[in-house]
Amino acid sequence: MTDDVKDANRIDSVELFLAHALTLENEAADGYQEIGDSMAVHNNPEVAGLFLQMCKYGRMHADEVRELATGLDLPHIPPWEYSWEDGESPESASMDKMHYMMQPAQALALAMKAERQAHAFYAGVAASTANPRVRELAQQFAAEESEHVRLLGEWIAKYPPADDNWDYDPDPPAMPE
């Protein structure tokens, strides 16, 4: 959902591109952090660990982008005016898919989806930009994202798929207030 349908993905300045990349990585990390914390609060340490790990990677990437941006004056863009495909930054694993009993394979599948979207975003920019430097950076980032996708694939393979009853909780919910 976006308010203004833009010429999606068309980014022609390095500053604008890095601003997008920085936000993408930051929001990815923030999102993973939030989900990881939430899983920890809900006594799902294994999945919490996975997301917090993802968060760490996200923070690293953000640092990398920040480094690339040193010396440049990145524009401020309000969250709703980024050139994201659907209004939300592509690598955010959305909280609404989460479940307190979710199993690692499911968590990683969600992360995979986010990484794929990030890849698609960078690849899209690379394909559409008129600025060669932007294209170069976008291609580089897209390559990194495909590497993440590959790594995640390997990671997923290590976990059994969730069983049919994975979300079965025999107990009633609590009523804290």
Binding site: V41, H42, N43, N44, P45, Y100, M101, D163, N165, D169, P170, D171, P172, P173, A174, M175, P176, E177
Partner: protein, 572 residues
């Protein structure tokens, strides 16, 4: 094991099925002829939070948790420190835990309990569809010596709607748990022999018992707004009322619910609401209206930790003050308190009877620890209390709604009775109901409203008085269980006590109390509040011996029998 009971704690993260396992264990114990009690505690999360179930099983009725636990089954260690204060362990306790779950938390290790790591996760993984809680149930089946077939029957009943596969896995889990115990060195914790069940037994929570008591007393109209820990009363009442021709309305707030029941009762239908502290506070103005207009209503207050939003999931008795004194003006009303889970039924039913008989609001106090715990109890005897309102006959002439009778109770017309037309009023009024600010009318109506409560014969139900020792222990509500048990322990040591557990808090029963206290030279007051509310109330209304002590503590931890017993012993 305290005498003839076994105390068990089960803990684990949400999703592990702690509550289900605990309930099945309670059911199985009941089927096998034992009595029991089950309470619970949980974290602030709605789902997935850490949960602990506390059970006490035995061959005699159980009215409270014990001081300590014989057995703890920890399905995992996640956030289990939350329950540190509640799961009291000692050198004689056994803790069964998962060998792969890492080190036990510091406080558990420091307790001196014997830690028995078992391959729980591993066992479950090897059972197709296996679940930790069924394994835990199996462990406890093995430890307590409950018959496998009884446990199996309960499991079958609980899981059958989920299909044969799940059921088989459940049963396999139970067997695997029993096998783990059999193969280990864990000291058994057997439940003696089960007493023959003379009468049918019930498995009931305090909230359900209160609901049943109300319907038995005649309640057919309920309006309420959900609030923890009273909601289960409403959850039980909504479908049950429907079956017996009554109705529950979910109101927009507590102001609406209290006034709706006043309207329903004005229409002649015995009416009730249930709430907890914050909701009760919102109702006070209109409870005053029921006093002034002499409209019978019953308000159940399931007390929780206060003040303000406080601790919604934990028990306390600190709404005593507001229940007794929270109305503006001189507003005599009745306050009762249920003494045990089963007594929630008795007290609720009696309260409906009193409300209807005396055309007055009755506030029934129970608390979270009664309301949200379950017990196996003997089916209560049938009670004769039914709400019966005195009414004028149809076609009455010169009817005066607030006539000054000797008893203070004036016949109350209900709409539909020709000749009875009157206007109920919260303004001070003359006998006719017409507003009056006159001195004589005000005095006469204040007198009559006080008189009807004073003259009524509440019989022996005002309190449970047990024993005749020189040390009287005066208590109320959910403290009665621990006090009774402490008295029994004292008796075993040859210390004679007497227990006075009040069911009727207001109006005060000066003569009866004095009589109950005759020959006692010392009083110990036991209550669960911070500011000694019950003690202050007793002082205000009763003559107490100079030699007096108060054991008063706020929630969230329940008063334990041992604490009371220590007080008794130290004073003997």
């Amino acid at each position: 094991m305290s005498g003839d009971t076994v105390s068990i704690a089960i803990s684990g993260a949400g999703g592990a099925g702690v509550m289900t396992a605990a309930q099945m264990l309670l059911d199985a114990a009941a089927k096998a002829g034992f009595y029991g009690l089950m309470a619970r505690s949980s974290g602030p999360q709605i789902r997935g939070g850490e949960v602990a179930a506390f059970l006490r099983l035995g061959s005699r009725p159980v009215e409270c948790l014990d001081d300590r636990f014989d057995v703890m089954v920890a399905l995992d260690w996640l956030n289990v420190e939350r329950f540190a204060g509640e799961i009291v362990l000692d050198g004689a306790s056994v803790v069964l835990c998962d060998a792969d779950a890492g080190e036990a938390p510091e406080r558990i290790r420091a307790s001196g309990a014997q830690l028995v790591p078992l391959p729980l996760q591993e066992t479950v993984k090897n059972l197709p569809g296996g679940r930790m809680n069924m394994l835990g149930l199996g462990l406890l089946t093995g430890l307590t010596g409950l018959p496998e077939d009884v446990v199996g029957g309960v499991v079958a009943k609980g899981l059958k709607k989920r299909g044969q596969e799940v059921l088989d896995a459940g049963l396999a889990g139970v067997r695997a748990g029993m096998a783990l115990v059999a193969a280990s060195e864990v000291p058994a914790c057997r439940l003696g022999s089960s007493p023959p069940a003379v009468a049918p037994r019930w498995n009931i929570s305090g909230n359900e018992a209160a609901g049943l008591g109300c319907i038995r007393g005649g309640i057919r109209f309920v309006a309420a707004y959900p609030i923890t820990p009273a909601t289960e009363i409403l959850e039980w009442l909504a479908p049950s009322l429907e079956k017996v021709g009554g109705v529950l309305v979910q109101a927009e707030d507590e102001l609406a619910s209290i006034n709706m029941i006043i309207g329903g009762s004005f229409g002649g239908t015995p009416a009730l609401t249930a709430t907890s502290g914050p909701g009760l506070a919102l109702m006070m103005e209109s409870i005053g209206l029921a006093v002034a207009s002499e409209t019978p209503i019953v308000v159940i207050d399931v007390m929780r930790g206060g003040p303000s939003t406080g601790i919604p999931t934990k028990s306390e008795q600190s709404d005593l003050n507001i229940a007794l004194y929270g109305l503006h003006g001189d507003a005599p009303h009745i306050v009762t308190a249920a003494r045990s889970i089963a007594d929630c039924q008795f007290t609720a039913q009696w309260s409906v009877h009193l409300a209807e008989q005396l055309q007055v609001p009755v506030i029934v106090l129970t608390d979270q620890s009664l309301g949200q715990s379950r017990a196996i109890v003997d089916r209560p005897a049938d009670l004769a209390f039914i709400g019966r309102r005195e009414m004028p006959v149809a076609g009455v002439t010169g009817y005066q709604r607030y006539a000054l009778t000797a008893s203070g109770v004036s016949p109350m017309a209900i709409p539909g009775i020709p000749g009875g037309e009157y206007i109920a009023d919260g303004l001070e009024h003359a006998v006719s109901g017409r507003p009056s600010s006159g001195n004589e009318d005000h005095s006469a109506q204040l007198d009559k409203r006080a008189r009807k409560l004073e003259l009524f014969d509440y019989g022996d139900h005002w309190a449970d008085v047990e024993g005749d020792g020189p040390l009287a222990i005066v208590t109320l509500g959910s403290c009665s269980g621990p006090v009774r048990e402490a008295c029994a322990r004292a008796k075993a040591l040859g210390i004679a006590t007497r227990l006075i557990s009040l069911r009727l808090l207001a109006p005060a029963q000066e003569d009866r109390f004095a009589k109950a206290l005759e020959g006692a030279d010392r009083v110990l007051v036991v209550e669960q509040t911070h500011s000694k509310q019950f003690y202050r109330y007793l002082r205000a209304h009763y003559d107490l011996p100079r030699d007096l002590k108060v054991l008063s503590r706020p929630g969230p931890l329940p008063i334990r029998p041992g604490e009371v017993f220590d007080c008794i012993k130290a004073w003997s």
